[in-house]
Every structure is written in structure tokens, then in C-alpha cells.
Amino acid sequence: DAGITQSPRHKVTETGTPVTLRCHQTENHRYMYWYRQDPGHGLRLIHYSYGVKDTDKGEVSDGYSVSRSKTEDFLLTLESATSSQTSVYFCAISEIAGLDTQYFGPGTRLTVL
């Protein structure tokens, strides 16, 4: 998985609780992405980062926030988890935006009860 780790790998939480997922890379790539994957929807971009402290929204950003204080770490926070946020979350990295491949982490399976 190209030097990308995600933690936790599995999490079960209750509606209304805050949740933070962590993505850590050892490749020193500039761009980092958070996706969610759901049946019938494929991969959908939540937020992405183009540098330390530089982030932007993707197509499904409502209910999510991100932070990037170091090149190697990109955090995804669900401020108040809802059942609709039950999903598999993938982190990805790339050197250049949209002109080279994105490398994906192993994913985090999140269940919100």
C-alpha cells in the first residue's frame, strides 16, 4: 500500500459521537485525499489537501472536516457521526494532482449505530 497506513482499520461508534480517522504516509507526497466507498456509488471524494494546512472540499464534504498539520498526516473528523456515514473510508496520496496515479491506503471500515 505504498507507505500509507490508516487507523483505526475498523470502528463501531454511536450516532452523535465524534470520530477521527488518521492517514499517515511515508512517501512525502504533497497531495492527500479522503474518499468514501459505498455500494452503488463507487469512490466519492470527501476532502483533499494540497499541502500543509491547505485543504479543499470534495463532492461529499458535508458533515466532515479535515486537518493537515504535517506533510505525513491527514486527519478526517466526523463532528457528530450519523448512520449515513457508515462506509469504508480510503486515504490516497499523489505527487501531482490529477496527472499521476493516486496510491491508496488499506481503508477504514466505520459503522455508525
Binding site: P39, G40, G42, L43, Y48, F90, G98, T101, F104, G107
Partner: protein, 113 residues
Amino acid sequence: GESVGLHLPTLSVQEGDNSIINCAYSNSASDYFIWYKQESGKGPQFIIDIRSNMDKRQGQRVTVLLNKTVKHLSLQIAATQPGDSAVYFCAETGPGNNRKLIWGLGTSLAVNP
């Protein structure tokens, strides 16, 4: 709402046969295309990419064909093996969408021994 239980298109082939997976992309201005393979429980993995100034690109056992006239992309896998069983995604990007990847919904490839 989400289409829970929506089945992916499935291609079933015999081991040793050639496989062709098709993808219709959405944006005529897209200039970079990627094929990913996703095995069960893992993140998507890069297979091959192609830029819009090319019609064909070959890798090891895989070939990608691009037809810009009809906005069609295909992935050919030669001598398909059981290890090729996975979901295959095409993705496109271009200058018109800030270089973010637009993902297809995927095709499931099943290889019969």
C-alpha cells in the same frame, strides 16, 4: 438515497481467456485516464494509465485503449488468471475539474478455473 445492494456489472471469463472491461467516461475535456483494480477488503491499486494524446498503451498483460471520439476507454487483460478476479474502476481527470479524479462505478471480473 443510496442504492444499497446495487449489483456491479459483472464479467465472467474462463482462466486463460482474454478479458475486456469497458468504461464510458463523462467529460470530453478529460486528458488523463487511469485503471484501478480493487480486491476484496483492500484499497484500489493502480494498473495502468493513459494520456489523451495516446490511443493505446500496453503494460504487462494489460492494454488500455482510448477512443476520444466516443468517450470510451477499455482495459484488456491477456491470459486472465484467478488472481485477476477483482473490481476494476476507470477514472478520468482534466483541467476543467481542478484535476480531481472522477470515478466510474466499477466492473466485477470473475475468473473461472
